[in-house]
C-alpha cells in the first residue's frame, strides 16, 4: 500500500513534499560527496589492480570490461544500498517508532522515509557508477581523448539491453528494500525494546540485499 501511495501524485501534499525533501537532503545531499569520494578511491585501486594483473597475463584488453562489469554493475549498487541503509535506516526506525498505545502512522507519513531512502539509493548508485566509469578510463588511458571511442564502444557492449534491464531491476529492488524494510517498524505494535528490533530489521535488510544480488547474478544465466 505504501508503494501504491508512492505512485499516487495526490499523496504528495506540502508536508509530505517537505519531509521528502528533508530525507533527500539527509541522504543524497549529505552523503553524495563522501560516497563519490569512496567510489573514486575504490574505483582507482580496483581498476589499477585489475589493469596491472591483466597486463601481466597479456589480457589488458579485458581489464576495462572486467572493471565495468564488477564495479559498476555489481559492487557499487550494493555499496550504495548499504550506505543508505546504514545512514537512513536507523533514523527512519527512530522517527517511526511510536510510543506504546499510539496509533500507527498513516501511509502518507511513511512516504518521505520510503521514497527518500529509495531515491537516495538510486542517486548514489547512478552518480557513483558514472564516477567509477570516468575514473576507470582515466586510470587506464590517462587524460587522453583518443581512447574515448573505444571506451564508449566497450560501455555500449557491456550495457546491452539484457544487462541494462537487469541493472535497472536491481537498482529498483535495492531502492524498494532499503526504503520499505526500515519503515516496516511503524507497523509493529510491540514497542518494548527498540534496539533488538532495529538490529533484527537491519539483519533482515542485509539478508534481502544479498538475496537480491545473488538472485540477479544467477537468474539471468538460467
Amino acid at each position: 500500500m505504501t508503494l501504491t501511495a508512492a505512485l499516487s501524485p495526490s499523496c504528495y501534499d506540502r508536508p509530505t513534499r517537505h519531509g521528502l525533501a528533508a530525507m533527500f537532503c539527509l541522504g543524497a545531499w549529505q552523503m553524495l560527496p563522501g560516497y563519490l569520494l569512496g567510489c573514486v578511491l575504490v574505483g582507482t585501486v580496483l581498476t589499477h589492480v585489475v589493469a596491472v594483473t591483466s597486463a601481466s597475463y597479456g589480457l589488458s584488453h579485458l581489464a576495462l570490461e572486467a572493471v565495468v562489469r564488477v564495479l559498476v554493475l555489481e559492487l557499487l549498487p550494493l555499496a550504495a544500498a548499504l550506505f543508505v541503509a546504514l545512514r537512513l535506516a536507523p533514523l527512519t526506525m527512530q522517527r517511526l517508532a511510536r510510543p506504546p498505545g499510539a496509533p500507527p502512522p498513516g501511509y502518507r507519513a511513511l512516504l518521505p522515509y520510503v521514497i527518500g531512502s529509495a531515491g537516495t539509493v538510486l542517486v548514489l548508485a547512478v552518480l557513483g557508477g558514472i564516477g567509477a566509469l570516468a575514473v576507470a578510463y582515466v586510470v587506464v588511458h590517462g587524460l587522453s581523448q583518443w581512447a574515448l571511442a573505444d571506451y564508449a564502444r566497450l560501455i555500449g557492449q557491456v550495457f546491452d539491453p539484457a544487462t541494462a534491464i537487469v541493472l535497472t531491476f536491481k537498482l529498483l529492488a535495492f531502492a524498494i528494500v532499503v526504503g520499505l524494510v526500515p519503515a516496516s517498524v511503524a507497523l509493529e505494535s510491540d514497542q518494548s525494546d527498540p534496539l533488538p528490533r532495529q538490529m533484527r530489521v537491519m539483519a533482515y535488510l542485509l539478508a534481502l540485499l544479498i538475496l537480491i544480488e545473488v538472485a540477479l547474478l544467477i537468474l539471468p544465466r538460467l
Binding site: A21, V126, I155, F159
Partner: protein, 313 residues
C-alpha cells in the same frame, strides 16, 4: 512562535527543497546523458549497412562481437542465426561511415585464439574496388588456434609415455647406459680400451703377452735375416754362385753345340748314321732353352738380381 513538528515527520533541514531538487536534476541529467551515451555507443543513432558473414560454426562469436579492419572496430554483430544449410550466419551492422573500408574483394576471417573469444577480421587488399553492397553475404575463412590442441595433447601424451618407457628402470636405455658405464669403467682400467674391447683384463693381459712374444720373435727374425752373414746375405751369395754356374753350363753347352755342328757338317754324307746326332742336338738345344727359362725365372724371383737381360748364343 514556531509550529510544532508533526509526529513521524523527518527532521527539518534548511533549504531542503532546493537541495533535493538540485540532486534530483543532477541525477536525472546524468541518467539521460548516460542513456544517450550508451545508445550512441551501441550505434543506435548511426545509419548502418548490413553484412552477413557465413561460417561453419558460431562458436566464440556472439551478439556484440566486433568486426575489425586493421585492428579498428568497424562493425558489430547484431544477430547470430543458424542458416537453412546448417551454417552460422553473422548479421553485422557496419556504420555507413566505416563501410568504405569494405570492398567487393574484401576477405573476412574468423580467428579463434586459445584465450578469449573469436575475432572477426576484414581484409581489403584493393581499396579501389567497388564498395561492398548492402546486405552482402560473404563466406568466412576460419583460422582456429585451438583446433590443433587435442591432437597436440595426444602427441604429448604419447611422448610422455615414450619418455616413461625410455627412462624406466628396466628399459633398454637404462641397460645401454649401464653397459656404457661398464665400458667407461673398463676404459679407465689398467689395460684401457683393450680391456674394454676384449671383455676383461685376463684377455687383455694375454694379448699384451702375445704382442710381447711377437715383438721378441720379430727381433730374432730380423737378426737372423738381416744381420751380417744372415740368411739374406747367404741367399744372395748362393744366387750369385748359381748364376755363375748357369753361365758356365751355357758356355759348355755352346761349345758342345758347336762341336755337334761341326760333326754334322763333317759327317753330312753319313746322315743316316748321324741322325741320332740331330736328335741329340735338338735335345741339347731344348735343354739349353729350359736353362735359359730357369735363369729368367730366377732373376724374376730374386729382385736383387742386377742383370735381367739374357742373351742366347
Amino acid at each position: 512562535m514556531s509550529t510544532p513538528e508533526p509526529p513521524f515527520a523527518p527532521p527539518d533541514i534548511p533549504h531542503a527543497p532546493q537541495k533535493a531538487a538540485a540532486v534530483l536534476v543532477l541525477t536525472l541529467l546524468a541518467i539521460v546523458a548516460f542513456v544517450l551515451f550508451v545508445l550512441d555507443a551501441r550505434g543506435v543513432f548511426e545509419r548502418n549497412q548490413r553484412l552477413v558473414l557465413i561460417a561453419d560454426s558460431a562458436e566464440g562469436v556472439g551478439v556484440g562481437s566486433n568486426l575489425t579492419f586493421s585492428g579498428f572496430v568497424i562493425g558489430r554483430v547484431v544477430r547470430v542465426e543458424l542458416g537453412e544449410d546448417g551454417k552460422a550466419l553473422f548479421h553485422i551492422d557496419v556504420p555507413v561511415g566505416e563501410a568504405r573500408w569494405l570492398r567487393s574483394s574484401s576477405v573476412f576471417t574468423l580467428e579463434r585464439g586459445v584465450v578469449g573469444g573469436a575475432s572477426l577480421r576484414a581484409f581489403s587488399g584493393m581499396l579501389d574496388d567497388p564498395s561492398l553492397p548492402d546486405d552482402a553475404r560473404r563466406e568466412v575463412l576460419v583460422g582456429d588456434a585451438a583446433a590443433g590442441l587435442p591432437q597436440l595433447v595426444v602427441g604429448i601424451q604419447q611422448l610422455v609415455a615414450n619418455l616413461e618407457r625410455l627412462t624406466a628402470e628396466q628399459s633398454a636405455l637404462s641397460a645401454s647406459l649401464d653397459n656404457l658405464r661398464q665400458f667407461s669403467a673398463a676404459l679407465n682400467g689398467r689395460y684401457g680400451a683393450l680391456s674394454a674391447l676384449l671383455g676383461g683384463e685376463q684377455n687383455a693381459r694375454q694379448v699384451v703377452a702375445a704382442l710381447e712374444r711377437a715383438n721378441t720373435l720379430l727381433a730374432k727374425a730380423d737378426a737372423r735375416l738381416f744381420d751380417p752373414d744372415g740368411l739374406s746375405d747367404q741367399a744372395r751369395l748362393s744366387l750369385d754362385e748359381l748364376t755363375k754356374l748357369l753361365a758356365e753350363v751355357r758356355t759348355s753347352l755352346g761349345k758342345a753345340d758347336a762341336i755337334l755342328g761341326d760333326a754334322q757338317a763333317i759327317a753330312a754324307n753319313a746322315r743316316i748314321a748321324s741322325s741320332d746326332l740331330d736328335a741329340l742336338r735338338n735335345d741339347v738345344e731344348a735343354t739349353l732353352r729350359r736353362v735359359n727359362v730357369l735363369t729368367g725365372q730366377l732373376n724374376q724371383k730374386w729382385p736383387f738380381a742386377t742383370e735381367r737381360e739374357l742373351k742366347l748364343p
